[in-house]
């Protein structure tokens, strides 16, 4: 079955179609047979470190070729150079660690990427750069050197460059890392608006972002997709496994004290426990198991 993000237009050509994607780095299997179809909307990619998220995003961004499997992006095959160029023309990519030219101003950096995106007309390109920077909330610092910008501001510069050319497919790897709460809210607002008419794939550790933004979630671990569904589907995984108690339950796999002073326990609930409404975070933690628990701890 071909799922689309909105789950409505199942007959339309998906923006992203992956079939049995495999990727190894020496003896490490990064992806083991990933299949996925995506249409318009925002997809959240959740998984612990080493789950294969970044590898998957790099394949989607056409900067990495899979060892096996079939990739179709925007209806084209990135293995073919002409198709790859066409895909890149309609693709925005924000890597996990984009790197910056510290002596460039924010404007110069985004402008430079715009040039690399074949925006040759100087006047039109500058207008587009200004638009992207405004979207990313960077208008006030356009002429500042990147070395003078905070980490959060730099993430926004990276975001701005990915928005150039109003891409049909936007791939954002950890876009909210380093952003303060206000910036994260602004980010959510911007991405949710952009996601109305294009495909956005957001890799993140922030389950709240996924819950707030994404119509669909993919939970990965060990190079495989563990679950594909809505944020509610992820939360439902934990239904019956989350309970509140006055103290930390020794049978719980993970427990923490809430703001109300009670303990939220996750695991196999004991009989008679006061079950709680599960969240996406609870479901994610149960899905990915010990690794996520240790990361969360």
């Amino acid at each position: 079955m071909n799922d689309t993000l909105d789950g409505v237009d199942s007959d339309a050509l998906p923006t992203v179609r992956l079939q049995g994607i495999e990727k190894r780095f020496l003896h490490t299997r990064a992806l083991g047979g990933v299949s996925l179809d995506l249409g318009t909307g925002i997809l959240g990619l959740l998984g612990p470190n080493g789950a294969g998220k970044t590898t998957l995003l790099r394949i989607l961004a056409t900067v990495l070729a899979p060892d096996a499997g079939e990739v179709r992006l925007l209806g084209r095959d990135p293995a073919r150079s002409q198709d790859r160029l066409e895909i890149r023309r309609r693709l925005g990519y924000m890597p996990q660690e984009p790197g910056f030219h510290r002596n460039f101003t924010a404007f110069e950096f985004v402008d430079y990427v715009a040039i690399l995106k074949e925006m040759t007309n100087r006047r039109r390109r500058h207008r587009e750069v200004e638009r992207a920077m405004e979207l990313a909330g960077l208008s006030g610092v356009a002429r500042k050197k990147i070395r003078a910008l905070s980490g959060g501001m730099r993430r926004r510069v990276a975001l701005a460059q990915s928005l150039l050319g109003d891409p049909d497919l936007l791939i954002l790897d950890e876009p909210t890392a380093g952003l303060d709460p206000e910036q994260r809210l602004r980010f959510r607002d911007m991405v949710s608006r952009l996601g109305e008419d294009r495909t956005i794939i957001v890799s993140t550790h922030q389950t709240e972002d996924v819950a707030a933004l994404c119509q669909q979630v993919v939970v990965m671990n060990g190079g495989q997709i563990l679950l594909r569904g809505t944020p509610r589907d992820v939360a439902e995984v934990a239904r019956g496994h989350v309970w509140l108690a006055d103290g930390r339950d020794p049978r719980a796999r993970l427990a923490w004290r809430t703001a109300e002073g009670r303990h939220r326990n996750i695991g196999d609930a004991p009989a008679g426990a006061e079950l709680a409404e599960p969240t996406i975070e609870d479901g994610y933690l149960l899905l990915v198991g010990e690794q996520a628990f240790s990361e969360a701890a």
């Binding site: 900067v63 910056f100 995106k117």
Partner: protein, 599 residues
């Protein structure tokens, strides 16, 4: 192209590139500072002057091409439409943006020289060499970035390029004859006119056209290699192969030694100078200069006319000639090419044998600023010596039998027989001393008063090496009483005697003494018109060889210089020491046996 434009702009704004421009300007100013500009020579220097820019563009282009690696943006750029090959091509093309500023610098240099009354015509090909070196530097920087991406690679590359330049130009020619330097030097990025000596551009075969093609081909070759490395195939292979072919053609053409026909053509400048020179008569003096230097006649006349015009009209000489003679030393013209031309005597390095006639023969260099004053004074000293009747050439200095015997006595017995072939009664001698002769004072004054520059040069020379005893002060302890802390620099004014070499004239025999020079300085301190009038009144007497300096001092009312005795007493030297010093100074046995009086 948009990428090339953006990178080009960044390249030009790069701090290293901007910082190199003052170095280029400084290098050019330094190279041309002391010389009256000659466009046919200084056009070559524009290439050297742009070498700092070339090195800077090399560094900046390397940093630009490795920027994405060093700053970790490779992955981001990978996701854009532009391929690594296109990015490499962009960096390579960005180097072309340096052509404009390079050409501007060259044009500014030329305009500067023109403003300084430059002579000659520049060779457009030579002028393009500098900008092409800048482009080559940039291309090499981008190419290096395809192999070695560390920031350190740039400086290492620049040092390597400088080493290649020095090795090819200077080391490969080391130990070879000046007139036959290694043609391999033409494989260097910039090639000077000569490895040694100061030959004029006119006497050197420069395959500058082929060299320009060679440099451009090198840029194409390394650009092609960089593109190959970046993944471009068909076009890069074609460009690289084409560039390689061009390099072979241009490289082999430029390292070819000058042909006999080329050498003969150069030699014609010397064998038949009349075909290549323009002559003018100014104030009874005949001036001849090669066409490329015709503008210098004004400079020469400006220096010489104030000398001849001070000579009373009846005594004014009619035979003073200033005829330019190009310096052969270090050029591509060999002795055999000259076939008995007077210029061939330059190869003998023996002024007594030269055949250049009595004309004054400035070479292909003329100073600027204070150095113009030195050249003017050198020329004026020869002219003035000629008008007061002092010998003009070594051939005019004839040894007496006693002088020949005295000189020969200084030789080792085993060498004496050989030396006697040249040193004999009636034979010519390299130099003579004008010490004690009134006409020497006259000549020195005539030369010194000619222009403000000659006067200032003359005063400077005497200030550096004045007449008489100098007390040497060593720290605060001035102990002249034991006779060890004073010196006497010798009676002759050495700097005045060597000025002629700066004029590239090697056959003027007159040596000047400090005594006559100091009396000339006294005359210089008096109003010129009054001195001129007095000299005119006494011209016949003062130019007579037998008239002594002491007589001139009386006639002109000069203040006699203190004797050694007076100077030593003034310096506080004890009479006992003074006596011994004077004995040493005046003992004929201590005199230079090779000094013969000018007659």
């Amino acid at each position: 192209m948009a990428l090339a434009r953006a990178e080009g702009r960044r390249l030009l704004r790069h701090p290293i590139v901007l910082a190199s421009i003052p170095f280029c300007v400084g290098t050019f100013l330094l190279l041309t500072w002391n010389q009256a500009p000659v466009l046919s020579r200084d056009d070559i220097l524009t290439g050297l002057a742009l070498c700092p820019l070339s090195g800077a563009v090399f560094l900046a282009a390397h940093l630009g091409a490795t920027r994405s690696f060093r700053h970790g943006t490779d992955e981001l750029y990978e996701g854009t439409v532009t391929t690594p090959a296109q990015r490499t091509a962009g960096h390579l093309l960005s180097v072309l943006w340096t052509i404009g500023p390079s050409v501007l610098l060259v044009v500014a240099g030329l305009l500067y020289l023109v403003a300084l009354r430059a002579v000659g015509r520049p060779d457009p090909v030579e002028l393009l060499t500098g900008p092409s070196l800048v482009v080559l530097g940039g291309v090499l920087g981008v190419a290096l970035a395809r192999w070695w991406r560390a920031a350190l690679a740039g400086p290492v590359g620049v040092v390597a390029l400088a080493a290649i330049e020095i090795f090819l130009v200077w080391q490969t020619s080391a130990g070879r004859p000046e007139n036959d330097p290694n043609p391999v030097r033409w494989l260097a990025p910039w090639v000077p006119i000569a490895i040694s000596g100061d030959p004029p551009r006119e006497l050197v075969v420069r395959p500058s056209g082929w060299h320009l093609v060679f440099i451009i081909s090198l840029a194409l070759l390394f650009g092609g290699i960089a593109l190959l490395r970046a993944g471009v195939r068909a076009h890069a292979v074609a460009a690289t192969a084409g560039a390689l072919a061009l390099i072979l053609v241009a490289g082999s053409a430029q390292v070819r030694a000058p042909t006999a026909a080329q050498r003969r053509s150069l030699a014609d400048f010397l064998v038949h100078p009349e075909k290549h020179q323009v002559c003018q008569i100014r104030a009874s003096v005949r001036y001849c200069a090669y066409r490329g230097y015709a503008g210098w006649i004004d400079r020469w006349a400006a220096a010489v006319t104030p000398v001849t015009s001070r000579v009373p009209a009846p005594a004014r000489p009619k035979d003073v000639e200033i005829i330019q003679t190009l310096v052969v030393y270090g050029s591509d013209v060999g002795e055999a090419d000259l076939q008995g031309s007077p210029a061939a005597s330059q190869f003998g390095y023996n002024p007594t044998e030269d055949d250049l006639g009595s004309a004054i023969t400035p070479g292909n260099q003329w100073g600027r600023g204070k150095y113009e004053g030195r050249d003017e004074l050198a020329m004026d000293l020869i002219v003035a010596a000629q008008v007061v009747g002092l010998p003009r050439r070594p051939q005019d200095v004839r040894l007496t039998a006693a002088e020949a015997r005295r000189i020969l006595a200084g030789y080792e017995p085993s060498e004496r027989a050989d030396a006697a072939k040249q040193i004999h009664a009636g034979g010519a001698w390299d130099y003579c001393t004008s010490v004690g002769q009134a006409r020497a004072v006259l000549a020195l004054w005539l030369a010194a008063q000619a222009t403000s520059r000659t006067e200032s040069t003359f005063r400077g020379v005497l200030a550096r090496d004045p007449y008489g005893i100098q007390v040497v002060r060593s720290g605060s302890d001035v102990n002249v009483r034991n006779g060890q802390d004073f010196t006497f620099g010798g009676p002759m004014q050495g700097e005045l005697a060597t000025l002629q070499y700066e004029l590239q004239t090697f056959n003027f025999p007159v040596q000047w003494s400090k005594t006559e020079a100091t009396y000339a300085l006294q005359l210089l301190n008096q109003p010129t018109a009054r001195v001129s009038e007095a000299l005119a009144r006494n011209w016949a007497l003062l130019t007579r060889p037998s008239t002594t300096t002491d007589e001139l001092v009386q006639v002109m009312g000069l203040r006699p210089l203190p004797s050694y005795d007076e100077q030593l007493r003034e310096a506080g030297v004890s009479p006992v020491h003074a006596k011994s010093v004077i004995r040493n100074l005046t003992d004929p046995a201590n005199a230079d046996p090779s000094l013969v009086p000018c007659r």
